[in-house]
Symmetry: C2
Subunit: 382 residues, 2 copies
DNA sequence: ATGAAAGCGCTAACAC
DNA sequence: GTGTTAGCGCTTTCAT
């Protein structure tokens, strides 16, 4: 409380106040043994009185280890990555470490900036969901002893680091095989941007499933790009107006699945009445308040009602589970991966490295599992 | 690359390599003016050659400011807080600052640990969603010059800090008034744990709306607690089996809304057929794969079909918007607050403080808006 | 334009 | 048990 000097009190201030040497204060603060309990008590009183708190920055400078790690993901606001984040956080806390978090927003430059900023802060290690494919900038940091684990996507060529990913190929294959098992032969693939590793892998799985069922690959059934609404809606429109349109859709990630569902709702004249107020529209309270949407409940029979020319009775399987998938009508069948497991596994591997585990870089692949809920079990028309 | 000494190269190493003094290296690294361009080039080559990277920890120790902030929220994995996080992150990056993130998990002790750990790292400022109500531990830190902004919930008594919250009372009031305007007089309130500030405020709003409509307050219509499925299901069952059951429900936060919807689906025998595979159940791929759920689509008419004794045709308005609210049947009417705006406002206020803005603690209240989508416009039965 | 010396707050290594 | 000294890697101040 009582401070005469500018700034926070230091160990020196405490030492002066308690009438002991600096080192004794250090011993008390760090609970080292071998301090007379009376002396210790005097020091503790001085600490209390001055409101002293150890400066971990200085400590770190002296000791080498910062007890902090850096986490670079694509976007914390995405439920997939926020689950992963939480898992990393928990493991870090468990290991007495703090975590710097940063979202790259799928921008390789921002990824690089964040990683290097974390390295400049001398984090002990990094958990990275890479946006870019060139990680040469990391090499000197690794040489210098900073540990890194890549999650969800592998590092760019030439970098030999631990990696934790899910079985993208196998997951997509099983999801598409599921649709085939239910009688579909024209299956659309809506994927994330083709530059993204997971998107490419899942497309591979899609093709493998087709091959296994002796269904020829038709590139006109494939649409890839960022999962923004206009693009997805346009692509779906294109697919549905093909001469031989798909009877089922496989969507390549969570965002794309949701965007697809919204597109289908828009395209279906009967369903369209339901979602009158799109998200993010500015609605003045009390204005369109009661009129437009009331009474619509029960007017749509929810399934099997889409106008064939616009949004036919499509079967859907999505990669990634998402909240409320089970409450939609029909409920959405998904190929689920476990973001928490992904994050936990990566973080645990990182801390194992930090506590001395040597050996070559590991590549851990986590399984996916299919969760049938209804949308993926719909048969093709006729 | 070429390192003989242990650890990373320092400015000293660079200086030796370039044949200049330490200070000259510092000048080059920090792009200070007044260095001969030839000398600077030599230094730069040495930096490149040695793979030198400035140690920001040491820099910070000398300069005072750490260019980092701490963010303590309830749970990054919750979409509300992950949106808020992203906004804080973006503002921080914009201000050249890194952010330590930590989830308190609604545990006051963990909140305290995190905050103090951040303070020990000498973050410049803090953005806190408080879990506890006693923030006495923060006082010395504030005195020492660490800035703090509280978001979503105010600080405990006695702490005079900047606060950014949404209009919980007004939002709840307007949501409940909306239901009343649609003819409801028996309205259940399902809130978060009663110890949580926002839960209490929203209950107040609920009561205000009732009072304004001269509807007596009936405590048996109110249920508060953590939004776990068993508790919510039990409470809803209790509400629906009252002699005079509610015809509408107001749910007090996003999690509760979702849990409520899931409970209603379970309670409704007709809807129950739909969500056969609950989330988080371990389904072995290929086992229950195709049998249980196929063909259910179209069997439920989605709205207006609940068994009156279990889950009648309830109107619902929820506090907090959530992804897919618009795609449910019926789509869910919500009182939306804007987590991104909340985070951005708080972070901007923090950085304004950090750049010298003085003045008394501010208390900023952000508006909510009602988004009618269908579920809140259903009339009471008869 | 360049450099030498001091010191940020702490811990490690060694006295006493 | 306690204290002294050095120095982590950098910036600051003041010389040259």
């Amino acid at each position: 409380m009582a401070e005469t000097r500018r700034g926070r009190p230091t160990m020196n201030d405490v030492a002066a106040e308690a009438g002991v040497a600096l080192k004794t204060v250090s011993r008390v603060v760090n609970e080292e043994p071998g301090v007379n309990s009376a002396t210790a008590e005097r020091v503790r009183r001085a600490i209390e009185h001055l409101g002293y708190r150890r400066n971990d920055g200085a400590r770190v400078l002296r000791r080498g280890r910062t007890a902090s790690i850096g986490l670079v993901i694509e976007d914390v606001a995405d439920p997939f990555y926020s689950g992963l984040s939480r898992a990393v956080e928990d493991v870090a806390l468990h290991n007495g470490s703090l975590v710097f978090t940063g979202s790259s927003g799928e921008d390789p430059l921002r990824e690089r900036e964040l990683v290097l900023a974390f390295c400049a802060r001398r984090v002990d290690g990094l958990v990275i969901v890479p946006a870019g494919s060139d990680h040469g900038y990391l090499a000197p940091e690794l040489t210098a002893g900073i540990q890194a684990v890549f999650v969800d996507r592998p590092a760019g060529a030439g970098l030999n680091v631990d990696t934790v990913i899910c079985d993208n190929v196998g997951g997509a294959r099983s999801g598409v095989a599921h649709l085939i098992a239910h009688g579909h032969r024209r299956i659309g693939f809506l994927g994330d941007d083709a530059t993204i590793f997971t998107a490419k892998e899942r497309l591979r799985g899609y093709r493998q499933a087709l091959t296994a069922a002796s269904i020829p690959y038709d590139p006109s059934l494939v649409a890839m790009g960022t999962p923004d609404q206009p693009r997805v809606t346009a692509d779906i429109t294109r697919l549905l107006t093909l001469d031989d349109p798909p009877t089922a859709l496989f969507t390549g990630n969570g965002q794309t699945t949701v965007t697809t569902l919204r597109a289908l709702t828009t395209l279906d004249p009967r369903r369209a009445t339901k979602a009158t107020t799109p998200r993010d529209t500015n609605t003045t309270p009390g204005t369109r308040d009661s009129s437009t949407t009331s009474g619509t409940r029960g007017t749509n029979t929810a399934g099997g009602t889409r106008d064939a020319s616009a949004a036919p009775n499509l079967a859907i399987v999505g990669f990634d589970d998402f909240e409320l998938a089970d409450l939609l009508t029909p409920a959405i069948t998904v190929v689920a991966q476990d973001p928490i497991n992904l994050g936990r596994t990566a973080a645990e591997l990182l801390f194992r490295r930090l506590t001395g585990s040597a050996g070559p870089a590991e590549r851990i692949q986590l399984p996916t599992r299919i969760i049938p809920r209804g949308s993926g079990e719909l048969p093709p028309p006729r």
